[in-house]
Amino acid sequence: MKKVETICIIDDDGLYTLLLKKKIEKLNICTRIISYSNGEDAIAGISSLLDSNNLLPDVILLDINMPVMNGWEFMEAFMKLMPNIGKKIAIYLSSSSIAAEDRLRAQENAAIENYLTKPIESEILLKIAQLN
C-alpha cells in the first residue's frame, strides 16, 4: 500500500483531530501526522518548515470554520507562501458544512484538490494516500 510521508490536520475541533489522527494511524497511510488548531498556527508552522522540504506536509486536511484564521483565510496566506514551497502540497477542504456555497467556492479554487464532508471515511483517506 502506498504511504504518504506527512499528513497535516488543520482543525479547531480537538476531538475531531484526535479521532482523525487515530483513524489515519490505524489505516497506516502515513509516517507522520502534524496538526494545528487554526489557520494562523498552521501558517506559522509551515513557514518554519520552509527550509526543510522533507518535513513539509504532503497532504493538508483543512477545516473551513475556525477561529482566528479560517480555512479560506488560510488559503489566501498559503498562496502567498507557495512560491517558497519546493514541493506539491495537496490540500483537501474538510468541513461539516453541507452548504453548497462552500463546495462551489472550493471547486473554484485551483489550489484545492477536493472538498470532503466530515467525517472523512477510511476509503477516502486511502484514496488520498494513493493519489499523493
Binding site: 475541533d13 479521532l19 477561529p67 468541513s95 453541507i98 466530515k118
Partner: protein, 603 residues
C-alpha cells in the same frame, strides 16, 4: 348627496319616517294636479295617497330601506295614464346606512285602455312627464304591427319628417336597425311563459350611430294563453353613463360628481389662472399650503413655494405636455403625517396644444401608512430571515460536526481491540454529548430573539438591572477576586425592554469577567452618560483584550470564538448585538491586547 334637480320626472326624497326631505318642481305640480294637495318638505307623504296606493307604497318602501331598488308598476292611475314609481335607496357614506329613499315617477302605458297613441299624447300633455327619458312601443303579435310613441322614434334617431308614413313598413324599417333582436328576445320570453321581460341590446339609430337600448316590457296573452302583444318602455343606455342624457342633466350629474368626489380637482387655463376647483381641492390645498384657493387667481400665488420648491418647474413641464405625478408629506402637530398625491395633467386641443391643466390632489395618508407598515414588516421578516440563515448555519455546521464525531467514535468503539481504548472512546462520547447539549441550548437562545413584532418599552431603573446581573455573577466575581466599579447614578432610568436589558447587561459583565487576564486582579468599570439625548452604557475591563484588527469583523458573528478560552461560546455577543440593534441602538468596542476592552452600548 343626491342631485334631485337632475330629474325631469316628478321626484321626491323621503326619509325613513316617510317625511318629505326634498321635492322637485314636477312633483309639486303632479301632486297638486292629481291629489289637489301640497307636497312640502317635512310633510308626511303617505297621507297624500289614496288608501290602496298607500298600502302598496308602504310595503315597497320598506324594501327600498333595506337597500333594494324597487319598481312599483302601475302605482298611481291618473286619468287614463298609469304611473310607475322607481324607489332608489339614497346611500350615505356607508352602504348599509340608508336614511333616505328617492321616489321617481314615470309614465307607463297600458294598451287595452284605448289607443296607445292617444295615451302617449295624453302623457305628453302632462307637463311633469314631458321630459321623460323613456320611449314606449307596442307590437301586436297577431298582425305583426308595431307602434312607437314620439319619444321612442326620437330615441331611434327619427324626427317627424322621416318617420315612414305607412305604419305597415315600420316593422321592416326597425328590423333593419336591429330591433328584430329585441323582439325575438321578448318572443322567447313569452314562449317560456314569462309575462314580463327586460333586456339590453345594441341597435343602430337611423343616423347610423350605435345605440344601447335598455328595454323593459310586458307580454299580454290571449285567453287561451297564446302571446298577443308586447308593450315595452325603452331608454338609451349610454356607455359613458350619459348616453342619451340631455346636456343639462349630464352637466348636473358631472357637477354632482365634481362636488362630492374624494379627489380634489383644480382646473387651470394655460396662463395658470384658476378657473374652477372643488371643495375637496380647497380643503387639501389649505392643508398643503396654509392658503385658501381663490378663483381667477394665479395658481402660483396659491401655492406655498417653500413647501413645493419644484412646483414652478413641474407646472412648466405640464404646460409642455408632460403628465407630472408626485407625493408630498406634511407633518401635522402631534407627530402625525399626512400624505398627498399630486398629479398635473395637461389638457390638449385638436392640434395637440396644451390649453388647460388639471391638478388632482388626493389624500393618500392611509395608503402611505399601510405602505410604511408593510416596509416595517418587510424589515422584520428580513431580520428574521437573517436569523434563520444563522440558524441553518449552526444546524449545518455545529450539529453536523457533533454528528460527525459521534460517527467516528462509534466506528472506533465497534473496532476497539482493548478495554482501555473502549473506555477512552466512551469518554469522548461524553464530551460530544455535553457540547451537543450546549449547542442545542444556544439554538434555543437564537430562536427566541425578538420573535414578537412589537416589544414593550418600559421605564427601567438601570441600576436595578446591573445589581441583578452582579448577583447572578457573584460566584465568578468572588472566584476571580474581581473588583466591580459601578459608576452609574442611582436614579438613571432608561426606556427599554426589561428582558433585553437584563440579557444585555448580563452578557457584557460576564464577558468582562470571562476574559480576565490571569496575571492581574480583574477590574470591571460600569458607567453611564447621555449622548444626543440618549443613554450610553459602557462596560470596561482590564482583561486580555481583543485583536480588533484581526477579529473585529468577526466579533459579533455567530459561533466565532478566538481567545482560546474553553468556555467561550461566541453566541452571547451575537445575541446582544441583535437585541440592541433591534431596539434601534448600536454597540461600539475599543480594545487593546493585554490591556483590556471597553464596550459601549448606545441605547
Amino acid at each position: 348627496m343626491f342631485d334631485y334637480t337632475a330629474s325631469k320626472n316628478p321626484l321626491f326624497i323621503l326619509d325613513s319616517n316617510f317625511k318629505v326631505a326634498e321635492v322637485n318642481l314636477p312633483a309639486v305640480h303632479f301632486i297638486k294636479d292629481k291629489y289637489n294637495k301640497e307636497i312640502l318638505p317635512g310633510s308626511y307623504f303617505p297621507t297624500i295617497l289614496s288608501a290602496p296606493e298607500r298600502e302598496i307604497f308602504v310595503g315597497h318602501f320598506s324594501r327600498a330601506l333595506t337597500g333594494d331598488t324597487v319598481t312599483i308598476n302601475n302605482f298611481i292611475v291618473h286619468g287614463d295614464v298609469f304611473i310607475n314609481s322607481l324607489l332608489t335607496p339614497v346611500q350615505n357614506n356607508s352602504y348599509t346606512d340608508i336614511r333616505k329613499v328617492s321616489c321617481e315617477l314615470s309614465v307607463s302605458v297600458i294598451p287595452n285602455r284605448g289607443s296607445s297613441e292617444q295615451l302617449a299624447d295624453e302623457a305628453e300633455s302632462m307637463p311633469y312627464f314631458k321630459e321623460s327619458t323613456f320611449g314606449w312601443w307596442e307590437l301586436d303579435l297577431d298582425s305583426n304591427k308595431i307602434f312607437l310613441d314620439a319619444r321612442m322614434w326620437e330615441i331611434m334617431g327619427f324626427n317627424r319628417s322621416n318617420i315612414p308614413g305607412d305604419p305597415n313598413l315600420w316593422r321592416a324599417v326597425l328590423d333593419e336597425l336591429g330591433f328584430g333582436e329585441i323582439i325575438s328576445g321578448f318572443w322567447v320570453a313569452a314562449h317560456s311563459g314569462k309575462s314580463c321581460h327586460e333586456l339590453t341590446k345594441q341597435v343602430s339609430r337611423i343616423t347610423g350611430e350605435p345605440l344601447l337600448l335598455r328595454v323593459k316590457g310586458a307580454i299580454k296573452k290571449h285567453t287561451n294563453g297564446v302571446p298577443a302583444s308586447i308593450v315595452a318602455l325603452a331608454r338609451a343606455h349610454g356607455s359613458d353613463g350619459m348616453g342619451n342624457m340631455d346636456q343639462e342633466s349630464s352637466a348636473n350629474y358631472l357637477r354632482t360628481i365634481f362636488r362630492n368626489t374624494e379627489v380634489g380637482y383644480i382646473f387651470l387655463d394655460k396662463y395658470l389662472t384658476i378657473l374652477s376647483f372643488n371643495l375637496k381641492a380647497r380643503t387639501i390645498s389649505w392643508n398643503l399650503n396654509g392658503k385658501d384657493l381663490i378663483a381667477d387667481q394665479n395658481i402660483l400665488d396659491a401655492v406655498n413655494e417653500a413647501r413645493f420648491l419644484s412646483f414652478r418647474d413641474n407646472i412648466n413641464e405640464a404646460l409642455r405636455g408632460q403628465r407630472i405625478e408626485y407625493e408630498r408629506c406634511i407633518a401635522k402637530q402631534g407627530g402625525d403625517e399626512e400624505w398627498y398625491s399630486l398629479k398635473l395633467s395637461p389638457v390638449f386641443d385638436h392640434s395637440d396644444e396644451v390649453t388647460n391643466i388639471i391638478i388632482s390632489l388626493e389624500d393618500i395618508s392611509e395608503r402611505k401608512r399601510d405602505e410604511i407598515q408593510l416596509n416595517k414588516s418587510f424589515d422584520l421578516v428580513s431580520a428574521q430571515n437573517k436569523r434563520l440563515m444563522n440558524f441553518s448555519y449552526i444546524v449545518s455546521h455545529n450539529l453536523r460536526s457533533h454528528a460527525s464525531n459521534i460517527t467516528s467514535i462509534v466506528d472506533f468503539l465497534l473496532e476497539a481491540d482493548t478495554e482501555a481504548e473502549r473506555v477512552e472512546m466512551v469518554q469522548h462520547l461524553k464530551t460530544v454529548s455535553t457540547s451537543l447539549d450546549e449547542t442545542l441550548n444556544n439554538l434555543n437562545d437564537i430562536i427566541s430573539i425578538n420573535t414578537s413584532i412589537n416589544l414593550i418599552f418600559e421605564p427601567l431603573l438601570l441600576n436595578a438591572y446591573i445589581k441583578r446581573a452582579l448577583d447572578i455573577l457573584s460566584d465568578q466575581i468572588h472566584r476571580k477576586n474581581a473588583v466591580i466599579l459601578n459608576r452609574v447614578n442611582q436614579d438613571v432610568v432608561i426606556n427599554y425592554n426589561p428582558a433585553y436589558i437584563e440579557s444585555i447587561i448580563l452578557n457584557f459583565l460576564s464577558n468582562a469577567l470571562k476574559y480576565s487576564d490571569p496575571g492581574r486582579q480583574p477590574v470591571v468599570t460600569i458607567n453611564c452618560w447621555e449622548e444626543k439625548g440618549k443613554p450610553v452604557l459602557s462596560v470596561a475591563d482590564n482583561g486580555i483584550g481583543i485583536d480588533l484588527k484581526k477579529n473585529g469583523d468577526k466579533l459579533f458573528g455567530l459561533y466565532k470564538t478566538f481567545n482560546g478560552n474553553t468556555d467561550a461560546r461566541g453566541i452571547g455577543l451575537f445575541i446582544t448585538k441583535n437585541q440592541v440593534e433591534y431596539m434601534g441602538g448600536r454597540i461600539e468596542v475599543e480594545s487593546e491586547l493585554g490591556k483590556g476592552t471597553i464596550f459601549k452600548i448606545y441605547f
